[in-house]
């Protein structure tokens, strides 16, 4: 039975605090609740504070719809922040996911704050595609009654920076919407500018439409740093590496490691499906090379910044421009940045920067996120990560993944990693432990599914579990093979299918395997199975999506539109979830 005495999500507390209070309140007796309210009121009065007057009916608060489109969770996190600020200002805020919203519903709102991520090469996040396409369609509704503002998230390393947010902003204006303020476009270091923009935008909106006296009824508490003392990106937890093992065979063409870290005392209560953020350090050799190429004498502070604080690899078109301006050299074309890094840029005109110019040129070093490959119910106080060391050559230079090589090659057991939690509430096991799940996770994409399986084993979930794994070579790349064998033996894992791309003349990928077993797959979906996809966003997730559409068309004996409608329905039902990167 749902407890009747829960705090609303709009209560002026952080989500975690609401949850904590609800845990207590939901099991109280009427006497306890009466005592608590009396006690707190008395306390407040005794401290000389303003007596609360909750009994007075609040003035009608201005509605605010905060609409987010997210892939990695950043937009959603910002939407949550915006909701708190809005509530503080006296709005009646509502946070909605583009996945669950239509343009018609959006057009019916009075005040609309859009927080939109751009994914890959200028695409909207997968779950926002339907909303986005409908908004761009000729028959999109008019937004004449809507005030709006758009916060766009992106990554300057990609050419189509903030494309989705930009196009939504332009489209809403074209459809008659009234801009509250200009769009902001945020790079990977979005937190400070995004929060500042949210504050100023909502204050401006509040000035236009807010209920003046509403602010007075709100207890002003700063919730800008939610989560209490949980580690954050800015204040990560120094987790000791307890296990650091290469899983790839010695003849593998890949380099994948199992890294276990101790979270003892970290206050990181992750759930299966969540990611762990890792704050990496740069390659010291590269940092030195960058200093040398820039022509800057290395002092410890500067070198430390280059190691731990600044991104010395990613190169954006903007940096190419900035560099040309600062050095007075001829500007290189924007596409020159593709496949190149900071060091390549500096070496085009070596020795031309001051320390200040160099640090100004560089972006902050972003953390990297790894899907957690364990369940706390199986390994309390630990989190397991599955990390593929990235090495490649481009433009004649060896390149190395910043975090992946830092963790796999420059760390060993006993060392510490700076970590923090990134929750992924859209990638959760079904609430119903009996519901079957299909997990498609090639490569390191298998990580969250190991967490799922550990979790389902720990809680004795009865639902069937089907894993589809893939990699390059069966012999050298079968990650966690022995564990999966044990789970098949114990019947936790109902079924395992594999696709190894390089073991036969024709390349075989997970989507090929899915097609081969489409009858069974369709049967599972018909039985209500939830389908999860984790791994590479650019090729794999798209190919799997296409394969699913073909399977639904083939097995459901329907056309493409029918298949798409069915997959959309499955997605809206919360049974098609992705964690792709």
């Amino acid at each position: 039975m749902p407890p009747a005495f829960l705090l609303p999500s709009t209560a002026p507390f952080a989500e975690e605090q609401i949850a904590a209070l609800n845990r207590v309140i939901s099991v109280t007796t009427p006497e306890q609740r009466a005592w608590l309210s009396g006690y707190l009121a008395g306390l407040q009065a005794a401290s000389g504070g303003q007596a609360a007057t909750p009994a007075a009916p609040p003035a009608k608060r201005a509605p605010l719809t905060i609409l987010f489109g997210t892939e990695s969770g950043n937009s959603e996190a910002l939407a949550g922040q915006a909701r708190k600020v809005a509530a503080k200002l006296g709005f009646a805020p509502k946070v909605v996911d583009m996945a669950d919203f239509t343009p018609a519903q959006a057009a019916a709102t009075e005040n609309l704050l859009v927080i939109a991520a751009t994914w890959g090469e200028g695409d909207p996040p997968q779950r926002a595609v339907d909303f986005y396409e409908a908004l761009m369609a000729d028959d999109a509704p008019r937004f004449e009654k809507t005030r709006f503002a758009v916060l766009a998230l992106g990554d300057r390393a990609y050419a189509q920076f903030c494309e989705t947010g930009r196009r939504i902003d332009e489209r809403l204006a074209a459809l008659g919407g009234a801009r509250i303020t200009d769009r902001i476009e945020c790079d990977l270091d979005f937190e400070t500018p995004a929060n500042g923009w949210i504050d100023s935008t909502l204050e401006r909106l509040n000035a236009e439409v807010g209920i003046k006296e509403a602010g007075a009824s709100v207890i002003h508490v700063d919730f800008a740093r939610p989560g209490g003392d949980s580690p954050t990106r800015a204040r990560p937890f120094e987790a000791e590496i307890t296990e650091h093992v290469r899983l790839s065979g010695s003849r593998s063409s890949s380099d994948t490691w199992h890294v276990a870290v101790s979270l003892e005392g970290a206050g990181i209560a992750y759930e299966p499906g969540d990611s762990l953020g890792v704050v990496p350090s740069n390659d010291p050799a590269l940092a030195d090379a960058v200093l040398k190429a820039a022509g800057v004498a290395a002092d410890d502070t500067l070198r430390g910044a280059l190691l731990d604080r600044l991104d010395i690899t990613t190169l954006t078109a903007k940096q190419v421009e900035d560099f040309a301006r600062e050095t007075g050299t001829a500007a290189l074309p924007a596409e020159w940045a593709v496949g190149r890094q900071i060091i390549d840029l500096l070496e085009t005109a070596p020795g031309k920067l001051s320390a200040e110019q160099l640090t100004a040129l560089l972006r902050p070093l972003p953390p990297r996120y790894y899907s957690i490959a364990s369940s706390r119910k199986a390994v309390p106080d630990e989190a397991h990560l599955l990390i593929a060391g990235l090495r490649y050559t481009s433009h004649g230079r060896e390149r190395a993944g910043v975090a992946s090589i830092d963790i796999t090659a420059r760390h060993r057991a006993g060392d510490r990693l700076k970590v923090f939690l990134r929750s992924n509430p859209h990638f959760r096991l079904p609430a119903d432990p009996e519901r079957p799940v299909i997990m498609i996770g090639p490569g390191t994409g298998v990580a969250p599914f190991r967490a799922f399986l550990q979790e389902r084993e720990a809680i004795g979930a009865g639902g069937r579990n089907w894993l589809v794994f893939g990699h390059r070579n069966y012999t050298h790349d079968f990650l966690y093979q022995l564990e999966l064998q044990d789970w098949l033996k114990s019947k936790l894992l109902t079924r395992l299918d594999v696709a190894f791309s390089r073991d036969q003349p024709e390349k075989r990928y997970v989507q090929d395997t899915l097609w081969d077993v489409r009858g069974d797959l369709y049967g599972w979906l018909r039985d209500g199975a939830a389908l999860y996809v984790c791994g590479d966003a650019n090729a794999m997730a798209k190919d799997v999506h296409e394969a699913l559409l073909r399977i639904l068309a083939d097995q459901g004996k329907q056309d493409k539109a029918g298949a798409k409608a069915e997959l959309d329905a499955i997605r809206r039902d919360g049974r098609y979830l992705r964690d792709v990167y």
Binding site: V245, R246, Y474, Q481, L484
Partner: protein, 566 residues
């Protein structure tokens, strides 16, 4: 026979296998493991393949949370070792696409593919079947691939003996459709039809069974090393029949003197038209009288020594429609291949390509690919792990020579290297105790240095190495035999006959490479200085008392010198 002892585990597996099907098809569906079940692993041999694992990788696998690096070794059934150029191209393609990219020629005139993943077994078998090749009974307790002297330059005789090899193979092929069902997806015949194996019965043979056909004076097939042999007798320019030999076999077990290699006995003569019946009857006597309790004592050679040669022959004669008559005289002069070009009077040529230890890869495969692309002649695998490009028309010889030169395939080798053979051993063979194929070439290089010092570079001395005592490279019937005992350590045998008629004798126990060279170098020197005209090294070491002569398998372990070592 003494029937009171329990049957070996393999007998039960065969009995319960429903004519070699077992659980193989089901095992193929288990994606989580690269292996098949242990019992099915015994049955797959009858389908032509062994489960193996890469022993170089064993140490790292546990840490990587992966099972052993399993793969399969698939051996083909190619009676007489003859394939067409088109078939060769298919074999090469399959080796690249489904195996580890190499082709291994074996001492049974066939091809082994290595490193095949479970999921590639079916495509491989289907690829072979598409060019009318198969792997049926290439391993297992059945008649294995039948080999015959490779002598395309003796056109008529060669046609006769290679046809006979094919005849043996077809007649003694298991009749079960298990291979076709599992690998090709052939529909199971249902209802009423009771399968049977008219020659083998439900449990097939107690152990493997090997047949060779020899055309004197070449004993390239080592006819005396086989369970059953046929020595062609040529009179007035045609094959009038065959001397029949029984009871040869190489395998033994270290530390078990009741196991031993044995050279075959000549038991009589049959006419060409009766040869297949003779083969069937020898095989069925072994089927009925062989030891099914102890697999180390199950080969035909032990059956003969247990019940006596005379009794065994009598049992065969009883079953024969046309009885064997007295053996006819014959003589052999060598076991090696004649490397390089051989030309017939009409200009037709044959090129015997030296393939060190039978392992073909890279440039050699590229060269053969181009030669096969000419679409001429036949590709014939020899019992010495070499390859004969046979029946090259006069007009094409230059083109072939050009390709051989272009790919560096017409080099010359020392007599020792050209007469060397090694089994596969590490890293894939599960039985190997020591390196073989990966080590012998280096050892030969060291020995060549010694031989050259004494002017023996061109002398063809047979040297054979195996990684374990089971004898795949027939080490006990060579002039120098090396049998693995442990990592880097071998037993050194000497005194086998160059022409393959006499076993060798243990000379030094548990010696490493240095000790092998140290033991052989003074013998080479003595041989160079003291040998009689045309005296072979294997005969020399007996005449000079280095080792005692082994006159029969039963005294292989006897008369050892006190210097052998512990």
């Amino acid at each position: 026979m003494d029937i009171e002892r329990p049957l070996s585990a393999n007998e039960r597996i065969k009995q319960a296998s429903n004519f070699l099907r077992g659980g193989i098809a089901e095992g193929l569906t288990h994606a989580e493991t690269g292996a098949l079940s242990e019992d099915d692993g015994q049955l797959t041999k009858f389908h032509g393949f062994y489960q193996q694992d890469d022993r170089d990788l064993r140490a790292e696998r546990g840490k990587q949370r992966m099972e052993k690096a399993f793969s399969f070794m698939v051996r083909m059934r190619i009676p007489g070792g003859i394939v067409t150029p088109a078939q060769w191209l298919t074999i090469e393609k399959l080796a690249k696409e489904r195996a580890n990219g190499t082709i291994r020629l074996t001492t049974r005139e066939t091809v082994q593919f290595h490193g095949i993943l479970k999921g590639n077994l079916r495509p491989l078998m289907q690829g072979l079947n598409a060019v009318t090749l198969d792997t049926i009974a290439a391993c297992g307790d059945v008649n294995r691939n039948v080999i015959a002297t490779v002598a395309p330059w003796q056109r008529d005789h060669y046609a006769a003996i290679s046809a006979l090899a094919r005849g043996f193979s077809e007649h003694l092929l298991p009749k079960t459709r298990a291979w076709h069902e599992i690998w090709l997806g052939e529909e199971r015949i249902s209802g009423g039809v009771v399968e049977e194996e008219p020659i083998y019965g439900r449990t097939y043979l107690p152990r493997k069974f090997k047949i060779a056909v020899a055309l004197p004076p070449h004993n390239d097939v080592d006819v005396f090393a086989h369970d059953l042999g046929f020595i062609a007798i040529v009179q007035r320019g045609r094959i009038v029949g065959y001397n029949v030999t029984i009871g040869g076999g190489m395998g033994m077990t270290h530390g078990e003197p009741e196991t031993y290699p044995r050279t075959a006995d000549v038991i009589g003569f049959c006419k060409p038209q009766d040869a297949i019946d003779v083969a069937e009857k020898v095989l069925t006597v072994q089927r009925d009288f062989g030891d099914r309790s102890n697999r180390k004592h199950a080969r035909l050679k032990y059956t003969i020594d247990t019940i006596g040669l005379d009794r065994f022959v009598a049992l065969v004669q009883e079953r024969l429609a046309v009885k064997l008559t007295a053996a006819k005289p014959f003589s052999f002069h060598s076991t090696g291949d004649r490397l390089g070009w051989a030309q017939e009077e009409d200009g037709t040529s044959h090129f015997t390509l030296f393939v060190e230890n039978g392992r073909m890869k890279g440039g050699m495969l590229a060269g053969l690919h181009e030669i096969a692309g000419l679409g001429i002649g036949r590709f014939i695998m020899t019992a010495n792990q070499n390859l004969v490009l046979a029946d090259i028309p006069k007009a094409k010889r230059k083109a072939v020579q050009k390709l051989l030169t272009a790919h560096g395939l017409d080099g010359t080798f020392s007599g020792l290297r050209g007469s060397a053979m090694a089994c596969v051993a590490l890293p894939t063979c599960g039985l190997a105790l020591a390196e073989s194929e990966r080590y012998l070439p280096d050892l030969v290089t060291r020995l060549e240095f010694e031989l050259e010092r004494f002017g023996l570079r061109e002398d063809e001395i047979t040297i054979r190495m195996t990684g374990c005592p089971n004898g795949c490279a027939r080490p006990y019937i060579s002039e120098i035999g090396l049998v693995g005992r442990g990592p880097g350590v071998y037993n050194l045998y000497l005194g086998g006959a160059h022409e393959g008629v006499r076993l060798n004798k243990l000379h030094r126990r548990d010696v490493n490479g240095d000790a092998i060279v140290a033991a052989l170098s003074p013998l080479f020197e003595a041989y160079a200085k003291q040998r009689k005209s045309n005296e072979r090294f294997g005969d020399f070491v007996i005449r000079t008392g280095v080792v005692a002569e082994t006159t029969a398998g039963a005294n292989f372990h006897e008369n050892l010198s006190p210097d052998v070592g512990n």
